[in-house]
Symmetry: C2
Subunit: 408 residues, 2 copies
């Protein structure tokens, strides 16, 4: 029989989804699972989205322009202007979710064998996109003890080689919940300019910033006109993960022209969901304010609970809806599987994402997990009660002290 | 500034879409354009699709399973069974349109530098997918004089090298409208088995078969369990090109497992449009019968008109909704641009796709164009009147005889 390609073997299975069979089995046993393993929010998609896709005048679901429906692009540009990000229409292209935007950026900017530096832990699917583009991911470890802050410039310089073409950041960060400051971003800018690299910024969590301070976009850093590439999406912003509508944004017109050729090859992003997304951009600020308040309440509860558990290290969580925390356990993979296979607390358990899958360095993050706080406070409190109980009985526990009683 | 990648330069602009600026300018001048340049049907998407996506119970647009919504997959498998194509659930994955299915297949089956043989003229975007996968397209020319029939086995053997990994066919064919017979497909099967190659078949036009005979799927050829990969889509079948819902189908489980990893990296295909597609699969056979009758009437009109034009060679058109025809012109690109820039007939003109863009061999198909008969008979007749008038006045005309008056 014909063989598969090397990249088919090299491609990692999703670290988030590989626990699914154990979750399915637990559900079949009647165990209720709190899903803190995936960034699928429970928040309703704005009514503006639904009203648009239900328009009875829609009769033929046609291809859209390869760069996206023009009225959607115009509205997105106007929306960014209101956020202080000045763009021309040609600086923005609609993609099939943020994933495709990042794949296009890698395909356009990097040759096979080139290297991209990514601070780790990082969104695990960057690995998959890099393999798809034949690009090598060079991780730069950030430390939970430092709140996963960006490493200083000298750390970046140590891993830059003649093959380095880009740095990828995610801000606010998935999986850590860290928000990078302007000073950190400006330090990055200097490195990028010094070595003539691209700076790819995944900013899909922009609206989920709990610091009270403005988080600058890479598009707002001076001097990066040819170097900055921003990736955005309606998935998290509008709780519309299934829409697969994203944006590739850059002022580098050669790059945008090349990306359009890749976009033309696949003809268009989903039309109906672009129509919904365009309308969702009309959602009032109150929608985001409400969502942000809800997530801040969840974040507060999560951090308080975690910090009251013995042996747990939970750094500050300033954005997105994730926290990467250290648990008093031998191994996050084993613990997460055990939670589904061998544990229950009042007929319930919790599903987590082992953090090792977010590190490219072998062995890193073994005692860490990523928690997505995408459930309401009541459910989240119950999930934390499960976790607390689990940590006190898990056979691979590394902390001998007893866990205090649940706070609520 | 940082440079773009080699593939960004190598990537071809869409031959179909590059005439768009001239079309836009013509529209601004008030000229009405009959769009025969792109396979965007005017047929209504089935009401079952629209009813499903308008369901008021939809509140949160969530990710779907990376392999697609399970109920959609089950229904698709049942649907293929009714067509005589027996599949297990694991043989089918939902992709973001047929494009993604073919990209996944190339990524999984071929290493960079490997070769894929494609009979030309072929759907131009195969070039883009191949560049994305780092794969070399080796064209095998089919001739308009032979009705674009598949070349005999010895022609394939001549271009097979140690790097050859797959043959790609499209049946019924875009851009030629040719339907390959069982005998032709069985000859291909023998080549594939002899050289242990993959056979990728793009069968998105299955429902558009006007021969009155069954067109076998590659999934119905014995002995190809590990070798055959079928690509399908709801785009043409349900006149839902904007839905971006396709299928990757193979009985090769190693391949399907690898493709799932690529699918997981991009999380999911569009959820809402999968919901619509699942419901569209309930459309009654009468929907397809009605659509087929409509296209046959258009095909009949098109072929009759073209064959009555002096110097035009129009082969038999048995499937899909395209014809690739030879015109008495110097150059299809120049003629197509001239139609938009310098010609009008009663305030109207026609937009065609120059066929050269569907050939990989330089210079091939220069005097051919692809015509998509995606407009109703009344409009199609007017478009043919435009073409007839244009051929009689085009400065680059190569046939000196006068064109007879329009047939209707």
């Amino acid at each position: 029989m014909p063989e598969l390609s090397a990249r088919a073997h090299e491609m990692p299975a999703s670290p988030i989804r590989k626990l699914m069979p154990y979750a399915d089995a637990a559900k079949k046993r009647g165990v209720r699972i709190y899903h803190l393993n995936i960034g699928q929010p429970d928040v309703e998609t704005p009514i503006e989205f639904w009203n648009a896709v239900r328009d009875p005048a829609l009769k033929v679901l046609e291809y859209s322009h390869s760069a996206g429906i023009e009225s959607l692009r115009r509205k997105a540009v106007e929306n960014y202007r209101q956020l202080g990000i000045e763009l021309e229409l040609g600086d923005l292209m609609v993609t099939t979710a943020g994933s495709e935007a990042l794949i296009f950026a890698m395909l356009c900017c990097m040759n096979p064998g080139d290297e991209v530096i990514v601070p780790e832990p990082f969104y695990a699917n960057y690995n998959g996109f890099a393999i798809q583009a034949g690009v090598k991911v060079v991780p730069l470890t950030t430390r939970i003890e430092d709140g996963f802050a960006l490493p200083p410039a000298e750390e970046f310089r140590k891993v830059i080689t003649p093959r380095t073409r880009a740095i990828v950041i995610c801000n606010p960060n998935n999986p850590t919940g860290t928000v990078y400051s302007r000073a950190q971003l400006e330090a990055l800018r200097d490195i990028v300019l010094e070595h003539d690299l691209y700076l790819f910024a995944d900013e899909v969590y922009r609206e989920f910033n709990y610091t009270g301070e403005h988080v600058p976009s890479v598009m707002q850093l001076d001097g990066l006109e040819r170097h900055a590439v921003m990736v955005d999406s309606v998935s998290k912003k509008f709780s519309a993960c299934g829409a697969r509508v994203g944006f590739l944004i850059s002022r580098n017109q050669e790059l945008m022209a090349a990306a359009l050729k890749f976009a033309q090859a696949r003809l268009s992003a989903p039309t109906l969901e672009q129509i919904g997304a365009e309308s969702a951009l009309d959602a009032p600020r109150a929608y985001f304010d409400g969502v942000r308040e809800e997530y801040m309440a969840r974040r507060d509860l999560l951090v308080k609970e975690l910090r009251s558990m013995d042996g747990v290290l939970c750094p500050d969580v300033d954005g997105a809806f994730y926290a990467t925390v250290r648990l008093p356990i031998d191994d996050g993979d084993r613990f997460s599987q055990w939670l589904l296979e061998s544990f229950e607390h009042d007929g319930e358990t919790v599903m987590l994402a082992p953090a090792a899958g977010f590190y490219a360095t072998p062995g890193a993050g073994r005692d860490e997990v990523r928690i997505a706080y995408v459930l309401g406070c009541e459910k989240l409190a119950k999930a934390m009660a499960c976790l607390r109980a689990a940590l006190s009985t898990y056979p691979g526990r590394t902390c001998e002290q007893r866990v205090p009683a649940a706070a609520n």
